[in-house]
Amino acid sequence: MSRLEFLMNMRSCLDKGGLPKNEMDEALRYYEEIFLDAGPEKEDETAAGLGDPEDIAREILIENGLHPDGTPEFQMEDVKNPAQGSQNDQQYDKRYNYNYSENNGQKQRNDNLLKLVLILVTSPIWIPCAAALLGIMVAVAAVIFALFVALAAIGFGLTVGGIAGLFSVPPIGICLLGCGLIGLGLFGLIAVPMLKICFRAAASIINGIVTVIRKIFRIGEAKANG
């Protein structure tokens, strides 16, 4: 196997696994330098010594906490890619390349249409599921919110009651005031970080939904592959 073949294999495998660009550049650069330093006349030998580029790519993906064989979306791409590869190999001139990429765009649109139909057809199943999930999330948020309000109310009530009590039955007043202040203190300690966490959770849920929709329709992926 030549240096170029080796690096191309590795690259496509890393790309499929979704390795970030800087990590990919690092890895490819390292292996390219190994070939160059070993000597151009020993490319086959060097490749044999290094092992299977796909295995190496898999190890790198695992090191980076990624799933080596990609998500199902990427596997679907596997089926599409061979056709693209062979057409590229035949070194089409610019005219044909242009046609080819336009066809590809057409196909992508058809794919999206098909997916849209599928989503609509299966809507009786997933709409109730999504609604139930949304309901649960809203309920959880409401409970958390209610707890906060209750904590604040108790703290505030006891504090006010305690101050009032100070003038009638001082010991009980002081006791109530102390409990009230503890309640308010707890509210202050817990409320701010909890609110932050809630906001962050909401943001990441929305992000997740957007990512899923993007993945289904592959928005922006054509650009990344080109």
């Binding site: 690092e26 890895a27 650069r29 390292y30 292996y31 330098e33 190994i34 160059l36 330093d37 070993a38 010594g49 290094l50 092992g51 190496i56 190890e59 790198i60 090191e63």
Partner: protein, 106 residues
């Protein structure tokens, strides 16, 4: 070599090789091969890990019309290497006490 090399040992050996003089990936492997059976592919994650932990840093130097990536041990790496050497000495004494029956001498 009948004895497998652990990740920690490999890390420390790589640090030691680079400490001698700044060097590049291919040469590090060649040097390590005097002692252990490793390939460049085994070494890549090691180098990357050492870099991420800031024990090694890299810089580019021109060589034959291209840039070659050189590795250099950081201050943090020097400390880690000292630590590794200390641990290795202790480890060696303990293993020798059993393997070479040097227990009496301790």
């Amino acid at each position: 070599m009948g004895f497998p090399v652990s990740a920690g040992l490999l890390d420390s050996m790589v640090l030691s090789v680079v400490e001698r003089e700044d060097t590049y990936g291919y040469e590090i492997t060649q040097y390590l091969r005097r002692a252990v059976d490793v390939s460049e592919s085994t070494l890549y994650p090691v180098l990357r890990r050492l870099q991420k932990n800031e024990l090694l840093e890299t810089y580019d130097k021109e060589y034959m019309g291209r840039n070659r990536r050189y590795y250099r041990v950081t201050d943090k790496g020097m400390n880690a290497l000292e630590d590794y050497r200390h641990q290795w000495t202790e480890h060696k004494i303990k293993v020798d006490s059993i393997l070479m029956n040097e227990g009496e001498k301790l």
